[in-house]
């Protein structure tokens, strides 16, 4: 534990939480992650969190000792988990253990209202801090709103989209936000991840398709407008919900409709595509970029190659993609080879080396524009 900082125990950890863990102290300097807890069944006990994705060390060791970790920390951070999975139950178990040990709780789990109120009440009675991160709600729009043209943000808008689920788009998003902040830019960051709310950004479930589709475009537009008016950002960074398109006839996601809806609502000035491992060729990316231009209205400006390789041989669930993680070092070697030959930025954008190139490009093309900026 570092003096003057609150020690966090983050639980239950799984590979998708790497971006939260590695960025937590960047965005919340008053905290330090002292414990990362995962059930023993994930095979991470005693290993660095990078092992979950077959990457190099990221500086945090996983333990499966929940009770002792909670005992030694100041605050328990309950990480976001899918409600139908076993780890959700483990998260609930951690909340209850934290209450038992009278530790402050920050909860990213999607709790039903009744459970949340119950925990709030108990914590209030026991004088335990309980903070639950909730999603923003899209504003309503009036008839007048939808009779007007869409609002065009003044700040340049960067979109980050994924070609398959969880191909490190989340981590790329935080890296970009951090680097832009380091350059002195005021950033408005928006995305579906719950940790955004914790880091002072915006959490929104864009893929919630309730309501008439056309008016949803206006509601998203108004949501971004409100944020811009309140925060006056130098740049808006949006992580798009769900993959950008169906993968094949079996793995359809939402056919890219959520991404399309957001793309209609806000015009992107710069787009970063996050991809599974193996897609290096310009022969692939050039037509893809053209198709994105036609479909979404923007070309691909940069590509992140993750180390997640699609496993076509897995037949457990044909409606979901399965991945195997390539060794990070090997991916890095391949990227080094192909990156220089590429006409656009292609690299591992979880690495500062490549992300700096992206930010440089964004600055040159969108921010330090000497003339011709449309206001």
């Amino acid at each position: 534990m570092i003096m003057g900082k609150s020690a966090i125990c983050a639980v239950p950890f799984s590979a998708e939480d790497i971006p939260v863990i590695v960025n937590l102290t960047n965005f919340m300097p008053e905290y330090v992650v002292d414990f990362v807890v995962a059930p023993g069944g994930l095979g991470l006990e005693g290993k660095d969190i990078g092992a979950a994705e077959n990457r190099g060390e990221l500086g945090y060791t996983v333990t499966s000792n929940l009770n002792d970790s909670i005992k030694s920390c100041d605050t328990v951070l309950i990480l976001s988990k899918d409600k139908s999975g076993h780890l959700y139950d483990y998260g609930i178990k951690a909340v209850e253990e934290a209450i038992r040990q009278r530790k402050d709780i920050i909860c990213l789990l999607d709790l039903d209202r009744e459970t949340m109120n119950r925990y709030k009440e108990i914590c209030h009675e026991e004088n335990i801090g309980f903070r639950c991160i909730l999603e923003d709600e899209l504003p309503r729009v009036s008839y007048r709103d939808i009779s007007e043209p869409l609002y065009h943000p003044y700040a340049p808008v960067v979109f980050i989209g994924e070609l398959a689920e969880n191909v490190q788009g989340y981590e790329v998003f935080y890296n970009l936000v951090k680097l832009c902040q380091d350059k002195g830019l005021r950033v408005s960051a928006i995305g579906p991840e719950r940790a955004n709310g914790l880091f002072g950004f915006h959490t929104i479930d864009f893929s919630d398709m309730r309501g008439e589709l056309g008016s949803r475009v206006y509601r998203v537009n108004k949501y971004v407008r409100n944020i811009e008016e309140q925060e006056n950002p130098g740049i808006i960074i949006i992580k798009l919900p769900k993959p950008m398109m169906k993968f094949d006839e079996d793995v359809r996601y939402d056919f890219g409709l959520s991404a399309y809806m957001v793309s209609q609502a806000v015009p992107a000035s710069f787009f970063i595509a996050c991809s599974p491992y193996g897609f290096f060729s310009e022969k692939f990316w050039e037509p893809m970029s053209g198709s994105f231009q036609a479909k979404f209205g923007y070309e691909i400006d940069a590509v992140h190659i993750s180390n997640k390789m699609i496993d076509n041989t897995d037949e457990m669930d044909k409606n979901k993609l399965c991945f195997v993680h390539m060794p990070g070092r090997k991916v890095q070697e391949v990227i080094e080879e192909v990156s220089d030959e590429s006409s656009f930025i292609l690299g591992n954008l979880t690495e500062p080396k490549y992300m700096e190139r992206v930010v440089e490009e964004i600055e040159n093309s969108l921010i330090h524009v000497p003339y011709g900026l449309i206001v």
């Binding site: 095979g43 499966s64 457990m316």
Partner: protein, 492 residues
């Protein structure tokens, strides 16, 4: 049906039906409908019939050219046979073994006449024995699986025998241990059983632990009891099995809905008689998977005329039911399984371009999909292979996985590289190492023996897809014949 194609000619299979003309394009894994003239022209090109080729008019030649411009009638052949997973084999086996199957015992309380382990019936296989897997071996197996499944989303352990529940205590120990080892992950358990040993307590246990249970049942009493008899007294096991199935339904109706019936059909019996099994009010509600009885090498399966006729008629009804022209309830249950399987299989014929380096469609990644671990802790690609064959032994709990042997099984197409590269059924091939296993070695000669069967099955898939296409087209009033269709189109 089949044309021999040489390297310079399109790698396709032209074929016709009473209603239309088609070709299957190997390089794109697609079926293309063409008009009669174009079909004849393609046929002449394939047969290298120079004289006939020159008899066709400009229009047909233009259509042929159009198809080529669109990427069809491709003359490319795979240059090198190499499974796409070859270079990353180690990675898959290190991080993503999908499931394991534990042979908890080699002992069985039944002596089914067709069972590969029955004494004397199949000299090339092991026989039933008293061997049981120890908890020490099972524990090692679970640990091995745990260490090699970091990227496996839904770990699964299957229990196999003999009759697995003759080692019930071990199964319970393994479930308990695996739940602890895989804590936080959704581990599932699967068993195929003859269901003769299912007590109330055991049924409670299986339901509580959400087992994927598959019960072997071959037909009504008269048929089931012909083959599936108790070892001790040679009496049929039907009454015991049915009694236990009823117990499952009475005690755990929700769980019962998830239990399936695994049927081995002996087609010497009549189709109608076999399907009488589904008159039972419980069995009727269960999912039924079936296969035709397998014979050892050199032996053939006999089909009675009654079976063939009734089965074909039911297939006809089944096909009609897929297009809403016949009630599914009126189709034999075994045929419904066939039709569902057919619909699943024909989905595999869809666009995907073959590269210069590829492998025929047959093999899985041995050891990755469902690593079979026998009583002694020896590894095999799955439970279907011969356990006494040297080439099928791909390692052990003590030695680990034998990557070289796995590589040879994965790239089984290399055994017959030239034939495979020039074969129209390349993508739809179903042959894996099991079919090349001869006296413990991988044999090209043995593998070739199954090529015709594999092609027949590939063609059957293609034919079924076309049949459904034609039927839907006919029913939608688009006409009976494609002869007048002047353009090509993909069969959707």
């Amino acid at each position: 049906m089949e044309q021999q194609v040489k390297q310079s000619k399109p790698l396709i299979l032209p074929f016709k039906t009473p209603l239309g003309f088609y070709f299957y394009e190997t390089n794109r894994n697609e079926i293309v409908a063409v008009n009669e003239q174009l079909y004849k022209y393609i046929d002449a090109v394939i047969k290298d019939n120079e004289q006939e080729i020159h008899q066709f008019g400009e229009e047909v030649v233009r259509q042929y050219g159009d198809l080529k411009d669109c990427g069809y009638l491709c003359t490319n052949h795979v240059k090198e046979i190499k499974h796409p997973a070859t270079d990353e084999l180690e990675l898959f086996l290190e991080r993503k073994i999908d499931s394991i199957t534990l042979q908890v015992t080699q002992k069985c309380n039944l002596r089914c006449s067709y069972c590969v382990y029955s004494e004397n019936s199949y000299p090339s296989q092991r026989s039933h024995s008293e061997k049981m897997m120890s908890f020490e071996t099972a524990k090692k197996a679970v640990d091995f699986y745990f260490m090699h499944s970091m990227d496996t989303k839904q770990p699964n352990i299957s229990f196999y025998g003999g009759e697995p529940f003759l080692n019930e205590e071990l199964i319970k120990q393994v479930v308990d241990y695996a739940r602890r080892v895989f804590e936080g992950r959704n581990i599932t358990f699967t068993t195929t059983t003859n269901a003769t040993l299912l007590t109330d307590d055991l049924i409670d246990y299986l339901a509580e632990n959400k087992f994927n249970l598959m019960i072997s049942l071959d037909g009504p009493k008269s048929i089931h009891n012909q083959n599936r008899v108790f070892a001790a007294n040679k009496k049929g096991s039907y009454d015991t099995v049915i009694r236990n199935i009823r117990k499952i339904w009475e005690n755990h109706p929700e769980f019962a809905k998830t239990v399936s019936i695994n049927m081995v059909i002996n087609p010497e019996n009549s189709y109608e008689e076999i399907n009488k099994l589904f008159n039972d009010r419980y069995i009727r509600k269960m999912r039924c998977l079936h296969s035709i009885v397998e014979k050892d090498e050199g032996e053939t399966v006999n089909y009675s005329d009654e079976y063939v006729n009734e089965s074909l008629y039911n297939q006809f009804l089944g096909i009609l039911s897929t297009v809403g022209r016949f009630k599914k309830a009126g189709v034999g249950k075994t045929t419904i399984d066939e039709i569902e399987n057919m619909e699943h299989e024909i989905q595999k014929i869809r666009y995907g371009v073959l590269g210069d380096v590829a492998a025929p469609g047959g093999p899985c990644i041995p050891g990755k999909m469902r690593l079979f671990i026998n009583c002694k802790g020896e590894f095999y690609p799955c439970e279907r292979v011969n356990e006494i064959s040297e080439c099928m032994n791909i390692g052990s709990l003590d030695r680990g996985l034998d990557k070289d042997k796995i590589n040879s099984l994965l790239n089984i197409g290399k055994l017959t590289e030239d034939e495979c590269r020039n074969c129209w059924a390349f993508t739809q091939c179903i042959l894996c190492g099991k079919k090349a296993d001869k006296d413990g070695k991988l044999s090209a000669e043995k593998k070739r023996k199954y090529c015709q069967e594999s092609k027949r099955m590939a063609f059957s898939k293609i034919k079924n897809k076309v049949l459904l296409f034609e039927l839907k087209r006919h029913l939608s009033g688009e006409g009976n014949s494609l002869n007048d269709v002047n353009i090509f189109r993909e069969v959707k």
